[in-house]
Symmetry: D3
Subunit: 66 residues, 6 copies
């Protein structure tokens, strides 16, 4: 019954990586709290780097500065 | 003043269905708690089936397995 | 599989009212989109009126002004 | 370390406006609570006007009615 | 920079279990996507069983029925 | 109509500080996007330091280490 929401930047995350996040997060809830995986929901939000800020700056600009 | 967020998979939900969700959720808050509909916000998030997991699996794969 | 999050102020909502919100929101997803109620999750967040603002003001103050 | 999520309708918000929201929200946390901006995250969600309801109606329809 | 939000029922989760959820979720983002753990935030929401519904029912009632 | 959610640790935030966050966030949406403050909602979530992790660790432990 747990609900996990993972927010990441939309920088080419593959379908396989998303599957790995879903499996890993579900297993974590099973291992730590004994939750029922059948009703454990994992939701991945991919956010445009223009819309994600950290330390005053857009990630888009931080990536350029690297 | 209530805020309702409805998260569903993005599988062809029509504009009319979204309108029905908005009307229904707003009416629910009016009926049960007497809330003011004028400031009741309903937000619908449509999530790609690759990004939604339940029971360890992506909904994309669950749909195929059916 | 839908996920509904209802955010309201914590002003004496009863257990019965919460049950009515859960039933109503679940039924809405069944009626409008044909979703499976068995995996439909409804989460109610009760927020302190000091922590809820609308129109620049805390709800705590808006309630006093009435 | 704070996390700020700003949800707005997707009506032509520019990259510069997003940057201004990120800077302003981060500065607010610094000014009011003395938070460390380096780990302050601001996330902007742009929501389709069909998916945003207020006062029973979709924003799409409210915009037309104006 | 990822943000993970884990929502669970408030049924006696210990501080050690919360630590395990934080460590595990952070490691998952490092392993799958190579994210920087230093800015990876994990937030755990514990929700009262009266406020969590699944399959039309409050978890409070589901626990009694078991 | 915007919705702003500010998540911070629950470390003695005063009512006045919350009011300042609400005013500041609302004004930001007015200044940058010309939004109507009357329907701008700001919600502050105060999260227990046991439930907030960054860089693998609970904030509770990070505070002790300082």
């Amino acid at each position: 019954m747990p609900f996990v929401n993972i927010k990441i930047t939309d920088e080419g995350v593959t379908k396989e990586q998303k599957q790995a996040l879903i499996k890993g997060a579900t297993q974590l809830l099973v291992d730590v709290l004994g939750k029922n995986p059948a009703t454990t929901i994992v939701l991945i939000d991919e956010v445009n780097t223009d819309n994600w800020g950290i330390g005053f700056d857009q990630v888009t600009e931080l990536r350029k500065a690297k």
